[in-house]
Symmetry: C2
Subunit: 202 residues, 2 copies
């Protein structure tokens, strides 16, 4: 099994999205999009889900490293629906994405060579991702439900948190029902907009 | 007014203490003391509130800097009661501590030259601390209630969070009712046990 990584952006009060996320508010109400200002190198507008916009400086290095290293992504269905597969402009060219869903359908090939696969159940997604990842890391990239399933499955080798100095007050948290795990911080780097911490899970 | 700093240790899920803190569980149930392993350079035992134990490496540098720079501390009454004034072995020799309480009594002089003052109301504590701080920073050092009052008072210049890779699942959080504030991360350093982030509040 390749290395399994959770990579999440989180507010100071522990939210990975504001409340009631949906197409109108992709990262929830309470202006949840703010938590990705670091990713966009500035405010992200509703509807502006072209995540090819580059981050800057330290933030950019973190994004580049994540995209260069990853061999497969696992997303939740809501994340896929809300972003509408990023309208075919998905940034992870050539890297397959496994979408968790009870409503299976055929894989979808995107521009740039990415294929979206639809799989039922986290364990299945992980097994399929492992087959396609060429021994590179499998990145569990959200949303909150997919991350909680990864924590429950105790399959994690690395946790990357991008902590942003924003208070959302309500929304989706990822650790509320997490089983015990032992983590050590191995790396931290910060920009004004986000502090990137890498934890090894042992 | 000198610089006002909040300095708090927080779990990954945003708790600064476990539930039901008290003399038996100074940092709450769910083994809340774990969040101060970084401070103690190892596990802290119940009753072992001799906070003169040195942290190590990066963690030690953060503690030393905080103690060397601070001109006054503000604590909540519960923090004072639970620690019993650290049995007179308070580490901030010579630096006055202002304890928030509705039950006023005379100042208490500790070994080492620290004086504990008992003041009613956060604004009063801050004004008194400012008089004694010799223009050095006033450090709001907990507990959660004192920190929430500082956030509500919008008096903050700097927020220092020591984020520890521990999940407590329940207890005391500090940002739940916080007013909007604008923060930028200016510094981050990590040990395996804690990531220390300094935010400027603008």
């Amino acid at each position: 099994m390749p290395k399994v990584i959770i990579d999440m952006t989180m507010s100071l009060d522990g939210y990975v999205a504001g409340p009631n996320d949906g197409k109108a508010h992709p990262l929830g109400e309470h202006d949840g999009m703010r938590i990705f200002d670091w990713y966009m190198a500035g405010p992200m507008l509703p509807g502006d889900l072209d995540i090819l916009h580059p981050a800057a400086g330290v933030d950019r290095e973190v994004v580049d490293e994540m995209f260069e290293e990853s061999g497969a992504f696992v997303f939740g269905r809501r994340t896929y629906d809300i972003t509408n597969g990023w309208d075919g402009r998905h940034p992870v060219n050539g890297v397959p994405v496994f979408v968790l869903t009870h409503h299976l359908h055929d894989p979808i090939d995107m521009e740039g060579g990415t294929t979206f696969y639809f799989v039922d159940g986290f364990e299945t997604a992980l097994a399929e991702a492992a087959k396609h990842a060429h021994d590179r890391p499998i990145d569990i990239a959200g949303g909150a439900s997919a991350v909680r399933q990864a924590l429950q499955a105790r399959c994690l080798n690395e946790l990357v948190l991008d902590i942003v100095p924003v208070v959302l007050r309500d929304g989706e948290r990822i650790f509320d029902d997490a089983p015990e795990f032992h983590a050590e911080a191995v790396e931290a780097a910060t920009s004004p907009l986000a502090t990137h911490i890498v934890y090894k899970i042992t």
